[in-house]
């Protein structure tokens, strides 16, 4: 008999039990009648012998395990009735549980997808990723094509070397239909065989397709097959055009396979030989049997020396010599996104679990207060014979019921929350090594379900167990004797106090971490930028290369025209535009400046139009700005303070000359600009040299920047119009703001700051509700006592002191407990987020102050109510 049968077919089991026992009596009667008794006598005798039928049934239910099922159903019914009786409590508790279950599940969904979920390939735990580390840059899985062959032929640690290369987007056309943009990947040789992926239909690319003269083939993803071909199996053999070159579709990948770079969409897979030129490759290795990752790392370090030496020989960059190779387990796919988001997500997961604790304590204290209010009921039930375990179960059932309802809503919330999270994650600018736009699919799977179930159970137990335990210890005599107005027991009081202290401590931890993250983001956005981030509109144009000769003229006219738009203070051009993610850099040679080859560093280059510094809000500290009239004259450059300091020291750089390695042009320095960040907020301003875009041979500065008086969006329409009338044939590629572009460069910091601020606020509100609840309850319970005290001469101030003393003590205890924990965990948070200013005490002070303020606010209402107690009224109550 299975448990569900007991639970759901109880009525049938009951009737069977009844029939079985009656049957026994009937048979007995029959035998007695056979032995010669009259029917009446036989029946009487049999009934007498059997004894109490109901008692026997009850014992059978116990023995057969029907009883718990019956009682469980009873508990549920009773619990629902209890919760309906106090809808305010039920709604609050369900709301809290919904929030925490939703938040935890949403974040776990991302953690699961990016960090935990194994690739759907054979033995994913044997896969390792090769990563190249250039000092100061994020590590990338990108290697020269012949490096693949070199490692493949010389290593002894990998049973397979797996190579692929993203080609970003391509235009795909099919039989005269409209072309569309797809994201694709080249794969080398027996990529799919080495991974152990089998096709959904058709066949996959194999080594014979990756030959110089092989017929061109393509494999599509399930999603692409579904969206574009309606899962039509006849696509096998279809010919498509990829950026103009033909290929035949030979197979479809299985539904669960999205490629090796989790978080990016790949629609189309082609053999690497179809690339126009040999692409650089991402490499994964499958560890040979018995080889550990450490052994593989050691061998790769040796093998890699030749790559670094070759590279260093070809390059003048002294840092190339310090390039290292690293191996990383790749069971969950390539580290591309993980490197950026794993730590912030783990930090958020930690914060979300803190929130879980706070919310559970809240629900616990609500249940506790209710338990006290229900003591009369419990006492009555105990005296009527209810077992203590039975009461415990009853109260636990109620809290699990709350969790269950919270889960239903929580899953909906998690779904929406995960979408928001993915949107934030995808809002960043593309990074080196990203094959395309971020597209994370979170599908409910067994891990997520297990996780949610765990959270729910934990939530239900955490919030329900202690109140249930305390409620079950009801002593009937004393509770019944004193009627409904009983005081609480000592254990109840100290447990309730403990809950408030824990809430304050955990909320403090939440708040101070949140404050640290928010402060970090705000420091990044505001400190030492070197430019004014707000009120700058960026419009990038996409002119045909053939137009470039005419562009100088057109751009000059356009800039003149833009200046006249009301609300526009200055307009300029820049290439690359600040914080677009792209950058140019070169070694610079300065007359009369010698340096050691090892200390040579590249400088950042930017091509700008006149009034760039005015537009961006970067002041010139010496010299004068570029002019349109510079065109055709000797080249001019503006350097930033770092360049001036490094190359010229105390002497005046203006009028000096510099040139770039490999270039014949000599540039005269005409001004020094204030240091400004250009590429990465996390790095100090780089050495930067600005050049006049109007002095170059071709015009490639295609990003217009405008400083506006109003919000940048307000002038966007007029700017579009101006562009259309001056250069009607030039399309506008993108319109954005500098502030947005800067924001897009710090997605991890923004993600964690936004979410932790939300969690911190929630935690604080919860702690305040907890304190309010406790004090309101205390005051209500002590109304008599307060009345008596006032009747005996206590002033309002005395009453206030008495009421507040306890609560403020709890607050203090919470702070005393929370501050050391928060200080101790700062080391942990700073290990997750680079450059987090852990030394600052500001977040802690802020958190403690806010916590205190909010707590005082929360207790002020019940405290005020206590001073308004009318002694006569209170005593009449007695």
């Amino acid at each position: 008999m299975s448990w569900w049968r007991r639970l759901f077919r109880r009525r049938k089991l009951e009737s069977e039990l009844d029939a079985e026992l009656r049957n026994h009596v009937e048979l007995q009667v029959r035998d007695y009648v056979k032995a010669g008794l009259t029917h009446e006598e036989a029946r009487r005798k049999a009934a007498l012998e059997f004894g109490n039928l109901d008692l026997a049934k009850e014992e059978c239910r116990d023995a057969g395990g029907i009883r718990w099922a019956k009682e469980f159903a009873q508990d549920c019914r009773y619990g629902v009735r209890q919760l309906l009786r106090q809808p305010g409590f039920a709604c609050t508790a369900i709301l809290l549980l919904t929030l925490i279950i939703g938040a935890n599940t949403a974040i776990f969904g991302l953690v699961n997808t990016l960090i935990l979920q194994d690739l759907p390939v054979r033995a994913p735990e044997r896969l390792v990723e090769l990563l190249s580390l250039y000092p100061g840059d994020p590590r990338v899985n990108s290697f020269p094509p012949d490096y693949y062959e070199y490692v493949r032929d010389n290593n002894t640690v990998f049973s397979d070397l797996i190579a692929f290369s993203g080609f970003g987007s391509a235009q795909v056309g099919r039989g005269g239909l409209e072309t569309e943009t797809v994201h694709g990947q080249y794969v080398v040789g027996d990529f799919f065989r080495a991974l152990g992926v089998s096709p959904a239909i058709g066949r996959l690319i194999d080594a014979s397709d990756d030959q110089a003269n092989a017929a061109p083939v393509a494999v599509v993803s399930w999603t692409y097959w579904q969206n574009r071909f309606d899962l039509d199996p006849r696509i096998l053999g279809d010919r498509i055009l990829v950026d103009g070159s033909p290929a035949t579709i030979v197979g479809v990948l299985p539904r669960e396979f999205f490629g090796l770079q989790v978080g990016f969409r790949t629609d189309l897979w082609l053999p690497a030989t179809m690339a126009d030129e040999r692409p650089s490759l991402g490499l994964l290795g499958r560890l040979a049997p018995g080889v550990t990752i450490e052994e593989a790392r050691a061998e790769m370090n040796v093998l890699d020396q030749s790559r670094v030496e070759n590279w260093a020989r070809e390059s003048d960059d002294p840092l190339v010599g310090e390039v290292k190779i690293d191996l990383e387990p790749a069971r969950a796919g390539s580290a591309t996104l993980r490197d950026q988001f794993a730590n912030p997500l783990l930090a958020l997961m930690a914060l979300a679990s803190l929130l879980l604790i706070v919310a559970c304590t809240n629900v616990a204290s609500m249940l506790l207060a209710r338990g006290t209010a229900r003591r009369h009921e419990f006492a009555l039930r105990v005296s009527l014979g209810a077992g203590r375990f039975r009461l415990l179960r009853q109260v636990l059932t109620e809290s699990l019921l709350l969790s269950a309802v919270g889960t239903l809503f929580g899953i909906v919330l998690a779904y929406l929350g995960a979408k928001v999270l993915v949107r934030i994650l995808a809002s960043g600018r593309p990074q080196v090594g990203w094959p395309g736009p971020v597209e994370i699919r979170i599908e409910p799977d067994i891990q997520i379900l297990l996780f949610t179930a765990g959270v729910v159970l934990l939530g239900g137990l955490l919030s329900g167990l202690a109140p249930a335990w305390i409620a079950s210890r009801t002593v009937p005599a004393s509770s019944l004797r004193t009627g409904g107005r009983t005081g609480e027991t000592r254990s109840q009081r100290s447990f309730g106090n403990g809950l408030v202290i824990a809430q304050v401590a955990v909320s403090l931890l939440l708040l101070s971490s949140a404050a640290a993250f928010v402060l970090h983001r705000s420091n990044l956005l505001n400190n030492d930028l070197g430019f004014q981030r707000e009120s700058v509109l960026l419009v990038s144009l996409d002119p045909e290369p053939s137009q470039r000769d005419r562009l100088f003229h057109l751009y000059e006219e356009l800039l003149e025209r833009l200046k006249t738009i009301p609300g526009v203070r200055a307009a300029t051009l820049a290439a690359p535009s600040p914080f677009s993610g792209g950058a140019a850099s070169r070694f610079v040679e300065v007359e009369g400046f010698d340096e050691e080859p090892e200390s040579r560093r590249r400088v950042l280059l930017a091509w700008v139009a006149p009034r760039y510094f005015e537009t961006l809000g970067t002041p010139l500290v010496a010299g004068r700005d570029f002019q349109f009239e510079d065109r055709g004259r000797p080249r001019r450059a503006i350097v930033n303070e770092s360049v001036a300091r490094y190359y010229f020291g105390d002497s005046d750089p203006i009028g000096r000359h510099l040139s770039f390695e490999g270039g014949a042009e000599l540039y005269e320095i005409i001004a020094v600009a204030r240091d400004a960040k250009y590429l990465d907020l996390r790095q100090p301003p780089p050495r930067t040299i600005y050049m006049n875009a109007f002095q170059e041979e071709t015009m490639f500065a295609n990003a217009i920047a405008l400083r506006t008086d109003l919000g940048p969006a307000a002038v966007a329409g007029a700017v579009r119009q101006a562009v259309r009338s001056v250069m009607p044939s030039v399309p506008i590629a993108a319109v954005t703001t500098l502030a947005d572009q800067v924001d897009a460069s710090i997605v991890p910091e923004r993600l964690i700051a936004t979410l932790s601020a939300t969690f911190g606020t929630l935690g604080t509100v919860l702690a305040a509700i907890g304190m309010y609840g406790l004090l309101a309850y205390t005051v209500a319970r002590r109304t008599n006592e307060i009345g008596i005290r006032m009747a005996l001469g206590a002033t309002r101030r005395d009453v206030l002191r008495m009421v507040l003393q306890g609560t403020l003590g709890l607050l203090l205890a919470g702070l005393v407990l929370g501050v050391p924990i928060a200080i101790w965990t700062r080391r942990f948070t700073s290990s997750l987020i680079a450059d987090l200013s852990v030394g600052s005490t500001l977040p802690m002070v802020f958190a403690a102050t806010l916590m205190t303020t909010v707590s005082l606010l929360a207790v002020s209402l019940p405290a005020y109510r206590a001073t308004r107690v009318d002694p006569l009224h209170a005593l009449r109550h007695e």
């Binding site: 069977e16 079985e20 026992l21 049957n23 048979l27 014992e59 059978c60 116990d62 057969g64």
Partner: protein, 115 residues
């Protein structure tokens, strides 16, 4: 005058039931009758303990139960031994034999032995 019927030693009821059921599908009333007959009316199982014991054994998956019509034509719940029940019965038989031997040795040897 009635001869007082001895109480069943603790825990032996389960064993007796398993032993009786081992012979083939049988319903509750018949189990009680069989125990009485086989013990030559020495042992009497009270219904109040028989049925809880049956349900307990069923719950522990030592017995299987099925409703079928009995020889009298009415529907009755027939019990059979499960594989697990058969194993249990085997080990209980061994235990019982050991226990009985031990007790007998004490009860017989104790008689008249010098202290």
């Amino acid at each position: 005058m009635t001869i007082p019927k001895p109480d069943l030693p603790q825990g032996t009821l389960d064993m007796l039931i398993l032993q009786v059921v081992a012979a083939g599908p049988i319903h509750g009333y018949a189990i009680a009758q069989r125990i009485r007959q086989l013990s030559r009316e020495v042992l009497e199982v009270r219904q109040g303990s028989l049925y809880p014991a049956l349900h307990r054994l069923e719950n522990r998956k030592l017995l299987d139960a099925e409703w079928k019509s009995s020889d009298t034509g009415r529907n009755a719940k027939f019990y059979t031994l499960t594989r697990k029940g058969r194993k249990q019965l085997g080990s209980e038989q061994v235990n019982w034999a050991n226990l009985r031997d031990g007790i007998e040795r004490i009860m017989r040897g104790g008689e008249g032995e010098p202290v």
